[in-house]
Symmetry: C2
Subunit: 393 residues, 2 copies
């Protein structure tokens, strides 16, 4: 078979090999996941919402619909983005996608030519980077501090690299670091990018899962030049299996996305869009999100306090105000990847942080997930991990 | 905004402008649709299947799943392809897609480099052609006769054009012509393509909707060299709103599709895959397809007999053995596109056939759909159309 040249750039996710190792060893406590906790899916309410929707308009839910998406859902999302993110949008700005991953791959398709450069936080979400790879772009990582992307570094990168076309950022509780950007840093970021002919992808799957601190407005809400493409998702606040997510962009850009979407897969699942609309109309999504936040906060706090107690003092880590992940830095001489087999043998797993870099990554880093482990597993797992780390430090 | 260069090739579907015209004029009888009849969606049974699935395994249905697809559904599709299409496949050969449209766009992404050539039936499904356009390929159309693609023409095209990489064909009740290929022609086609380093996309959404004549095995069932990528779909035999479709290919090719899919959207809707699996396990999909076939046959036969009676004798048309469409040829001096406004004014609509060609199309052609019109509408609509045609002939 003669595949296209772009396939030389498409590589299987490195995280898969970690997951395979974990599956092979029974009983491992896994901090390596990236999933929401299924115990917090509102199953009973979704069942009612689904049944009532099928009774009211089942045949429309099973038929083809609009490429842009199900109109009543677009209205509900406009309302929610206004309330939660300060975004002033109309249904014309929105297009539904199959998960935010499709939003990412559609951005890559819409904007990237071979040789273009994508700037991302260093580290960043691997799926965002991989969505761009087929298009033959280069990547430049910009470091973050506790306030967000380091502005001086960003400015340098943009002024020195005229081929930068896209910036990919996750300003709320980033995967993998769990960091959130401050308001001041967001303003500075927008000031800088407004001086360049670039597009920003603001990926915000975790924004509503803030369990500490004050909510900070989205970059999109500060976007006066129509440069931000905002990606929203129901995967973390409701459930990922329905793959209901959306793009919010300037209307002229959304029209382009619509044409791409038509060629890609005509439209998203109509039934799922109507399920979600029915659920939002009939139940209290805000109250449900509060439940998730309380559960995740408890687990995150427990994990942090155990890490504080048991980890060697040379190990540092983020203290997330939301989301699903903690980012750990070991002494620079250590490789988390090399320690992983030992950790799995001891009964605990994580993802080495180096996999989350577009280019060369920091080998002494670890991503820990706290959403799919019980408090008992956290108790046990952090101790196991602490003991493994102590062997090397 | 600086869009990618590929966006210069992405154009909105010409069929949309027809649909817009129709919507603007109330009460028009539309033969311009391309949808299955929603009255024949098995709504009550799908509701039961959905409810029971949510009770049995609701949380899994709402969670992330495998990129390839939901394993029990893959098993059911293997079984069905064996029974209906003579295809000897394993679950390893299958990857679920968001409608067959995604199968098409993934084939384009996997195989096409700029300058490659795609061979398609002349005319062909516009969505298939549009899925390829972003990748900068050329198109060559090969004519069909009543048996299928004209083999001598195909052989000429392949021998004269070494840049041909993909062949896109719909051997059963093609959209837009309604034609089905004979067994002999399929064998000849496979003999020819086996002599070249090419890949065949066999798009088969309508195969099971055969309401006349004998079933003919798929090209994939005759594929000894792993050159055929088969696209199956639940959209026409069950419903399109769930977007449940699949690719069946050589395992090495499916592995490549899996990597592409991961970057595109991670995976299809898990819930919808489990809905369909539950429906197939608990209800009789074969019996349901018989119901659809009986309904569509009745409408097709009525339409054909009225056309026979009322159309000017210089107008010719296909007599489909299945599917959803009839293809009409007017005297060559006429343009169906120019007549369309007059037809809509008279109260009847169709899609001009010229839109279904990758390159220049035959202006004297019309696609008629018979699945979303009642018998009463067919009675009235064919008469109206006959009267319009008589004005020009």
């Amino acid at each position: 078979m003669r595949y296209s040249r772009r396939m030389e750039r498409v590589k299987p996710s490195a995280i898969r090999s970690v997951q395979k190792k974990i599956v092979q060893k029974q009983g491992v406590i896994s901090f390596a996941a990236g999933l929401p906790d299924p115990d917090y899916f509102p199953l009973a309410d979704l069942k009612t919402a689904t049944m009532e929707m099928m009774e009211e308009s089942g045949r429309s839910a099973l038929q083809y619909g609009m490429t842009k998406g199900y109109a009543p859902l677009l209205d509900l999302l406009v309302e929610r983005m206004r309330a939660k993110e300060g975004i002033d949008a109309k249904p014309e700005n929105i297009l539904m996608t199959t998960g935010s991953q499709q939003g990412l791959s559609m951005c890559a398709m819409l904007f990237l030519d071979e040789g273009d450069v994508v700037v991302a936080e260093n580290p960043s979400y691997l799926g965002g980077i991989n969505a761009c790879r087929p298009y033959g772009c280069g990547f430049i990582g910009v470091d973050t501090d506790e306030e967000g992307m380091v502005i001086a570094d960003l400015d340098n990168v943009l002024s020195e690299n005229p081929k930068v076309k896209l910036l990919y950022v996750i300003p709320n509780f980033q995967n993998p670091t769990g960091k959130a950007w401050s308001l001041e840093r967001r303003k500075q970021f927008m000031e800088v990018i407004n001086q360049y002919d670039v597009v920003v992808i603001e990926d915000n799957p975790y924004g509503e899962i803030r369990f500490r601190g004050e909510a900070v407005p989205s970059l999109k809400s500060m976007d006066t030049q129509g440069k931000v493409v905002y990606l929203g998702s129901c995967s973390k606040i409701l459930c990922p299996g329905l793959r209901v997510a959306w793009i919010c962009a300037d209307e002229s850009v959304t029209t382009q996305f619509e044409q791409i979407k038509e060629g890609l897969d005509l439209q998203c699942n109509q039934f799922a869009q109507m399920q979600v609309a029915s659920y939002i109309q009939k139940f209290d999504l805000d109250a449900h999100v509060e439940t998730i936040k309380a559960a995740y906060k408890k687990r995150c706090d427990l994990m942090l306090s155990l890490m504080q107690e048991h980890f060697p003092s040379s190990v540092t880590y983020t203290k997330p105000e939301g989301g699903m992940f903690i980012w750990v830095e070991l002494p620079t001489s250590l490789s988390a990847d090399e320690i992983l087999d030992d950790a799995i043998e001891s009964g605990v797993a994580y993802v080495p942080g180096e996999y989350f870099y577009a280019n060369e990554g920091a080998k002494n880093t670890i991503r820990l997930n706290f959403t799919t482990v019980s408090e008992e597993q956290i108790q046990k797992g952090v101790l196991l991990l602490a003991n493994v780390l102590k062997k090397y430090i």
